[in-house]
Symmetry: C2
Subunit: 186 residues, 2 copies
DNA sequence: GTCTATAGAGTGATAGAC
DNA sequence: GTCTATCACTCTATAGAC
């Protein structure tokens, strides 16, 4: 008896975790089926394009989350320094202190799947620009803000890699704390 | 007519590139066969343990390269500031200005393959310690050196992710230049 | 004859597509 | 749940160096 009522939106978070944990290639349909509790039929009903379709849907959801929770405040908050500190806090929570990997970053390293490239680029471009805007408003000097934004994003991504590699849950929060000091003082 | 004489060491660089470009899961044996020009017989002759064996061999070669070219000078060069600058230069060249990905970092993000974990951790631990040592000798203060080494490695790894994501070959060299300024002045 | 490097047909299992 | 392609891997059979 089918019809347990699932919605596309309900399974996106699960899909995201599976892709994060196993990568795109490593996330097999049977694994996805097991984790979502859905048969292949349902999966192809929700995502006619198969696995790539699923990954694109997950990326779209991630983009939307970051756009409203991170990029928008960075661009619009009157208190730019606070927006930057909030970003670092949100990032620490989102990536569960480094226990959770950045799916967009992980896909960037393993491309060869060109379909994801524009979304991956868009995510990091939007983040860089939003942070640059906040840095300028926080008094960082328009000339230096761009480079600092770029370096900050690199450090966040790399901190996820390093924390994971060293199996040390203290690494990610520690590096974020250093970033905070440098960007907004304290 | 067999016997064209290949050696294990000769195909390691090719294997490294295939794993870098496609990831561990994405590097199929047929792809590996095509890229190395070797049949399965030869591949399994050199690497009886199959794909994992190949990846371990590549990681071992990478470790050795970094140990002699990067870690040793960092620990031993009497001129520590020069050793750090040399490290940044070597890294820029090794990763081909960001066009080439760090296999160790990429594997760290996609683990679930626990066999690689100790090697991955060893690589980053050795790098962190060597850089910390050089920073201390360059006058960075023992208390701060550790954190700076950690953050530097994260920034390098993240710069690879970001450069790749943005498809901008200028990103990686630009971030390395900022690192150099901060670490050894200029 | 033995050892090393080779090729590739053939194995069962499992992948993703539908 | 059925399909076909492809997966990692095994095995037998080679040729040439010693």
């Amino acid at each position: 008896m089918p019809k347990t009522v699932a919605e596309r939106a309900d399974i996106l978070p699960v899909l995201g975790e599976v892709f994060r944990e196993h990568g795109f290639e490593g996330a097999s349909l049977s694994l996805i089926g097991a984790r979502t509790g859905l048969g292949k039929g349902s999966l192809y009903h929700f995502f006619p394009g198969g696995k790539e379709d699923m990954a694109v849907a997950v990326l779209t959801e991630i983009e939307a989350w970051f756009a409203t929770r991170i990029f928008k405040p960075l661009r619009e908050d009157a208190n730019a320094a606070r927006a930057i500190a909030d970003m670092l806090r949100a990032v620490e929570e989102y990536f569960k202190s480094g226990q959770r990997v950045c799916l967009v970053g992980a896909l960037a390293l393993n491309d060869s799947r060109d379909q994801f490239a524009p979304r991956i680029r868009g995510y990091f471009a939007a983040w860089t620009e939003a942070l640059e805007s906040a840095l300028i408003r926080a008094g960082h000097g328009p000339k230096k803000a761009r480079g600092r934004a770029e370096e900050t994003l690199a450090t966040i991504q790399g901190a996820l890699v390093l924390g994971r590699a060293l199996h040390d849950p203290a690494v990610f929060p520690r590096i974020l704390a250093r970033l905070k000091k440098r960007l907004v003082g304290d």
